[in-house]
């Protein structure tokens, strides 16, 4: 794993995808596989978005796993897809490593029934700002580790 001054900087490495069929994005983006705490052992792709204030969970996944309608702070999110009303819900996600160790992150996700299905974003505030990460775009490697 990556080290900084001889100390571990990251704990895991995964392959990221720069395009995923199903996400209608014209340019390369960074999709990483995460899992959601719940009754099924599964992973799914989420888009890293360091420009987004909040993380957003696909409403179909939220509904299927009983997260829609959970009590959370009601708020609005103004995005390129439009203005959405929803709630900020605390979740535990796991960054899945292909090498090294997985990383659990406890963060708030914006969940709105009106959000376009099939799209989960990992935003900066309260999620990526708590994780150390690095990218190697030549090899499509995504390195991650716990924040200090």
């Amino acid at each position: 794993m990556l080290k900084l001054d001889q100390v571990d900087f990251t704990c895991g490495r995964a392959l990221f995808l720069d395009s995923v069929k199903g996400f209608q994005e014209p340019t390369a983006k960074i999709f990483v596989k995460i899992s959601l705490e719940g009754r099924l052992n599964f992973g799914f792709y989420a888009q890293l978005d360091t420009g987004a204030a909040w993380s957003v969970l696909d409403p179909v996944l939220a509904r299927a796993f009983g997260l829609m309608g959970m009590e959370g702070l009601q708020t609005k999110l103004n995005t390129r897809f439009g203005l959405f009303h929803g709630a900020l819900i605390p979740l535990r996600i796991t960054f899945l490593a292909k090498e090294g160790r997985n990383l659990d992150t406890y963060a708030h996700f914006f969940i709105s029934p009106d959000w376009p299905p099939g799209r989960t974003f990992l935003g900066y505030s309260g999620l990526l700002d708590a994780v150390r990460f690095a990218l190697d775009p030549q090899a499509n490697h995504f390195y991650f580790g716990p924040g200090v």
Binding site: C11, S19, N41, V60, L73, T75, L96, K98, D104
Partner: protein, 260 residues
């Protein structure tokens, strides 16, 4: 959508025109493929060669003997003076203003006549630091008498998360214990990350990715559950897929994916 994406029966536009269309619709990868195709077809027009250079991969190499420049004095200067120089280019040297103008060329021209102690810091000061859209909570024309929770909500809804955190700290310092404020405290607290106790590593994603590429049309509008390139379940309803998986639990972690 751009014409080149629609694939008309017979393409009559020049390669350069089609490449420009791709670029203008942010389809950089498509433009690169088209450049490669044009070159294979023997197109060596000046414009095409320009696109080839422009779309070629960026190169990076070790450079600069000034890697350790500490720009803290420049950022301190910007924080203190940015409102006075909105809409202008400024050139700074260790917290000292060397030149400023709305025209970058004027600033560059001024710099040519100077010998600053180190590489000057050039920065454009955005003219929109305070606009009608800026939340009331940030403008502070008068003491804001609204409850802290309301002001924090306004900041959050305008994406000023850093400002919301500062205001929250101020509210807590003043002893505000409004129940909404305590909810904001939870939401705005730093996330926690730690090495997982789940030791199941991820499998190679490429078999699943290749399966999706091969079957995207067939399964359009459906959720698919894949395990190492093998389809376990599919349905337009995620609930159906989950129901199937719960009846037939897979041995390893699967991929759930919605195909648009």
């Amino acid at each position: 959508m751009a014409q080149p994406l629609r694939k008309p029966e017979k393409e009559t536009s020049s390669y350069a025109k089609r490449i420009r269309d791709f670029v203008e619709f942010d389809c950089v990868e498509g433009a690169r493929r088209l450049v490669a195709e044009a070159i294979r077809q023997g197109d060596d027009s000046e414009e095409l060669l320009r696109w080839q250079r422009l779309l070629g991969p960026a190169r990076s190499r070790d450079s600069s003997d000034e890697l350790q420049l500490d720009r803290t004095p420049e950022f301190d200067w910007l924080r203190a003076h940015r409102y006075s120089y909105q809409g202008q280019w400024v050139a700074l040297d260790e917290g000292r203003l060397l030149s400023h103008s709305r025209d970058l060329r004027e600033v560059e021209s001024d710099l040519e006549t100077m010998t600053p102690s180190r590489r000057p810091f050039l920065h454009f000061v955005e003219p929109t630091l305070v606009t009608p859209a800026t939340p009331q909570a940030l403008r502070k024309p008068n003491p804001d008498t609204r409850p802290y929770a309301e002001r924090i909500r306004e900041l959050v809804e305008h994406d000023y998360v850093g400002g919301a955190r500062k205001l929250l700290a101020e509210a807590l310092e003043k002893g505000d214990r409004d129940k909404d404020l305590l909810k904001w405290q939870q939401v705005l607290a730093p996330a926690v990350s730690k090495i997982s106790s789940n030791e199941e590593l991820d499998s190679d994603p490429m078999p699943d990715v290749n399966w999706i590429r091969q079957h995207e049309r067939e399964y359009s509008g459906q959720w698919v559950a894949l395990l190492e390139g093998e389809l376990l379940a599919s349905s337009p309803s995620l609930d159906d897929v989950i129901f199937h998986l719960e009846k037939n639990p897979p041995e390893r972690r699967i991929l759930l994916h919605y195909i648009d």
